[in-house]
């Protein structure tokens, strides 16, 4: 049961990492756009 829960947590961590990185990229995109306008 513990191993099962640990795996679930690992999955959540990996998925959060992917989504979090995508949000960071959106931030980079906003930064590039802001630099272009200013």
């Amino acid at each position: 049961m513990q191993a099962y829960q640990e795996k679930n947590m690992a999955d959540l961590f990996m998925l959060a990492l992917l989504v979090g990185f995508s949000l960071l990229l959106m931030g980079l995109l906003r930064l590039c756009a802001w630099l272009m306008e200013n």
Binding site: A10, M14, C32, A33
Partner: protein, 573 residues
């Protein structure tokens, strides 16, 4: 190296040169929506795909919309691949009953294939089901390559167009790259590879009785699978992820001299042809040929160095009385030999391919330095499909800007002024991979989890780590071997490095495209620096080499350079 070796090398460059124009011209037609000989067959499929996906092909995007579409598409692909690998034990086409891929390995692999890196912390035949290999890994091989090509085409449109914010439609560029370019080429190559003996089957692994019954292993399992279809696109799409653990050193993945030649040719085919596509689309083919010349000169010099270094043999073996007249054969397939191993190593790291037919860890220090540095140059010497060319265009902007500063001219390239904004983005594009590689290596060497994966002592061990991060941080994917990278630390660290190297560069590249598209075209004047001359080609090579040397020479000195010097005095690691 004997004359046959040089002849093979010359043949390789000759065939590449011959194919650049026809394929380059074909790609121009595809991207400009003109009729080709495949339009009749694929246009209905293309239209059906747009209708099913609700895409309006005529609706053009600005750079931000283009980038968001690209990032979202890649994120969905990443999540899909991650889940597929995690659930492969419940899914069909798994005759060996392979278990689910662990979370950190699934993350690393999903990132690796979505980013066109194809770093492999796993051994294909012991980890991946047939479904994972085909749907999970082969599909991203196509789509990640098409993503790189789409970014390049958007950048070219940014250079060609003026006073607009429209760069084309990402979905159309992605679909056309896949349907009209990658798919037909991959089909042709896959059939040729099958004719050479590359396997393509859904049968379970074969079990055979060995001749050597006395050794205790009376049977041997021979892995099979749908190999040819994956190998074709892994080469053409500069992906590089092997079906089997030893990649193209495996006789079922690369069985004959012809398959070796064609697989090697396929690595550089599209990146080379894209130089012509570029020249044609900007209305001056000399510009494309100049870029092709710059890339070829660096490739030939580096391949020559690698082949020479490996031909010299290993002095440590020579001192044991082992004949080194065939060169350094450690870690190489006897049937492939020194020339084709060293040439492949250079070509696969010049392009962001990463497939191998010999183990780079066993190269002489100088021979191993070549693939390492080829990656560190930023994967612009042909580079990945699309990504190599847009990387090279970024270096051209630097070359134009610096030469403009030196002679007091306004920097311009193909009628577009190069200003502060482009240089800010260029600085980001060049520095991000350098920082990723150097910081990643430093962190891995500092933490116990990173040190635990190192196999050899001294500079060889250092090179193993530097190579891994150079490979991930430039989206190459080849491995030096020796490093035990399938653990949580390396899977996560290299995964993050691959993500940064791919997407944190694509965003500023598209931003440059958007910025250039906004600008007016200025006519050629006496003050315009010609960018197709031998002088500019030399200058461009100089800029690439100087930036590569400034960034990585200190690190290389700690690895292969000091090792080469110590090899002469008999010190081994």
């Amino acid at each position: 190296m004997n004359s046959y070796g040089w002849l093979q090398f010359a043949f390789y460059i000759f065939f590449l040169l011959v194919l650049v124009k026809p394929l380059g011209l074909y790609m121009v037609r595809v991207y400009q929506g003109e009729k080709t000989f495949l339009t009749y067959a694929f246009e209905p499929v293309e239209r059906m795909l747009y209708r099913l996906s609700g895409i309006k092909p005529d609706l053009e995007m600005d750079w931000k919309t283009y980038a968001v579409a690209l990032l979202l598409f890649n994120l969905v692909g990443l999540l899909f691949l991650y889940l597929l690998l995690r659930l492969q034990n419940f899914l069909p086409l798994n005759p060996q009953g392979l278990a689910a891929v662990s979370p950190d390995l699934a993350f690393n692999t999903a990132v690796s294939f979505a980013t066109n890196t194809n770093w492999q912390s796993y051994g294909g035949e012991t980890t991946m089901s047939y479904l994972s290999q085909m749907l999970g890994l082969t599909v991203p091989n196509f789509l990640s390559a098409a993503t790189g090509m789409a970014v390049l085409i958007a950048l070219i449109r940014g250079i060609v167009r003026s006073t607009t914010d429209k760069l084309g439609n990402f979905w159309v560029d992605l679909t056309r790259s896949t349907l009209y370019i990658l798919l037909p080429l991959a089909l042709i190559l896959a059939f040729i590879l099958v004719s050479q003996g590359v396997v393509q089957t859904f049968q379970p692994y074969a079990v055979t009785r060995t001749l050597d019954q006395a050794s205790g292993s009376a049977t041997q399992i021979i892995p099979l699978g749908p190999v040819a279809s994956q190998v074709a696109i892994k080469q053409l799409g500069t992906n590089g992820g092997g079906y089997f653990n030893v990649n193209s050193a495996h006789p079922f993945e690369n069985p004959t001299p012809l398959s070796n030649f064609l697989e090697m040719l396929a690595i550089l085919l599209i990146p080379a042809a894209l130089t012509y596509t570029f020249g044609r689309m900007v209305g001056d083919t000399r510009q494309g040929w100049a870029i092709f010349a710059a890339m070829t000169l660096v490739l030939v010099a580096m391949a020559g160095l690698a082949i020479w270094a490996e031909s010299q043999g290993n002095p440590a073996f020579a001192s044991l009385g082992i004949n080194q007249s065939s060169g350094n054969m450690e870690g190489k397939e006897v049937r492939i030999g020194v020339t084709n191993s060293a040439l492949w190593a250079t070509v696969t790291t010049a392009a962001s391919n990463g497939s191998v037919n010999a183990m780079h860890d066993s190269f002489t220090p100088l021979g191993g330095l070549v693939p390492l540095w080829m990656m560190q140059l930023g994967e612009v010497v042909f580079g990945g499909v699309g990504s190599g060319m847009y990387g090279m265009l970024v270096f051209i902007l630097v070359a134009v800007f610096v030469s403009g500063l030196m002679v007091g001219r306004t920097p311009e390239y193909l009628g577009k002024k190069i200003e502060t904004y482009e240089m800010k983005m260029t600085a980001l594009i060049i520095l991000i991979p350098v920082l990723t590689v150097l910081f990643g290596t430093a962190i891995a060497l500092l933490v116990p989890a990173g040190q635990a994966g190192i196999f050899n002592a001294g500079p060889q061990g250092f090179s193993e780590v530097l190579y891994a991060f150079s490979s991930a941080g430039n989206n190459n994917g080849s491995a030096f071997a020796g490093l035990s990278a399938n653990n949580s630390f390396y899977n996560l660290a290299l995964g993050v490095a691959m993500l940064i190297a791919r997407y944190a560069l694509i965003v500023p590249v598209l931003a440059i495209a958007g910025s250039l598209a906004h600008k007016k075209k200025i006519p050629v004047s006496a003050g315009t620096l010609p960018t197709h001359t031998p002088l500019f080609i030399g200058w461009l090579i100089g800029v690439i080499i100087i930036i590569g040397a400034l960034s990585f020479l200190p690190a290389l000195a700690l690895g292969p350079i000091v090792q080469q010097l110590l090899l002469g005095s008999g010190r081994l690691f």
